[in-house]
């Protein structure tokens, strides 16, 4: 699992059967300093989140397992809303809010 910030939404009217009810969102993975880590990606938002939120996501086959229908083509899923991520007592990830 990785820490990430939601940076936008992706809307696709036509989706694979089973994914109709799952919103897609752009997320930017973050490192332990709160800085961008690698490229942004699209993830299935299994937990309701919106742009600006700090989240954690799981990648690989587990992304699909997090979805309501588990045999779907998904390789990243937002599995939690992060209220606080602290490194050595210092909060990270909220600088841009």
């Amino acid at each position: 699992m990785y820490l990430a910030r939601v940076i936008g939404r992706v809307v696709a009217t036509t989706k694979y059967a089973g994914l109709e009810a799952v919103p897609l969102q752009w997320i930017q993975p973050l490192d332990e300093t709160g800085a961008d880590m690698g490229a942004a990606l699209v993830a299935a938002a299994v937990v309701s989140t919106g742009p600006g939120d700090l989240v954690h996501f799981v990648d690989g086959r587990e992304g699909a397992l997090a979805c309501p229908e588990t045999f779907v083509p998904v390789d990243a899923a937002i599995v939690g809303f992060v209220e606080e991520a602290a490194v050595l007592g210092r909060e990270i990830g909220w600088e841009e809010r």
Binding site: M1, Y2, L3, P29, L30, D31, E32, T33, M37, G38, V46, V47, S48, H56, V58, D59, G60, R61, E62, G63, L65, A66, T70, A77, V79, G80, F81, V82, E83, E84, A85, A86, V87, L88, I92
Partner: protein
């Protein structure tokens, strides 16, 4: 499996059911000699680890599901051990008994 330093904690009040009541740690993977490497991850703590500990991490779904007894859970990264010491080329490259100042973990 790989080694990582516990550099922080993550609090998530809204998450998928299998993760509820699990302690989440921010993990920075390290090389055998202790240098940071790879991507920072979030892991489920199953070893009573804490800030500053060097830990053993497994980042693979089937093992994680087996550990947590949840065959269909979207689980992947689990802290499975706290490292006492690491021996590399005949000498200790990490020793848990030498209390490292937390600042050394500074991001």
């Amino acid at each position: 499996m790989f080694l990582a330093d516990v550099v922080g904690t993550v609090v998530s009040p809204v998450q998928i059911a299998v993760l509820e009541r699990e302690k989440l740690l921010l993990l920075r993977p390290v090389t055998p000699d202790g240098r940071a490497t790879g991507k920072t991850r979030i892991g489920i703590d199953r070893a009573q680890a804490g800030l500053g500990d060097r830990v053993l991490v497994i980042d693979e779904g089937n093992s994680a599901r087996q550990m947590l007894g949840c065959p269909e859970g979207a689980l992947k990264t689990v802290v499975v051990g706290v490292v006492d010491y690491v021996e590399l080329g005949g000498s200790l490259s990490y020793d848990h008994r030498e209390r490292r100042p937390l600042e050394e973990l500074g991001a």
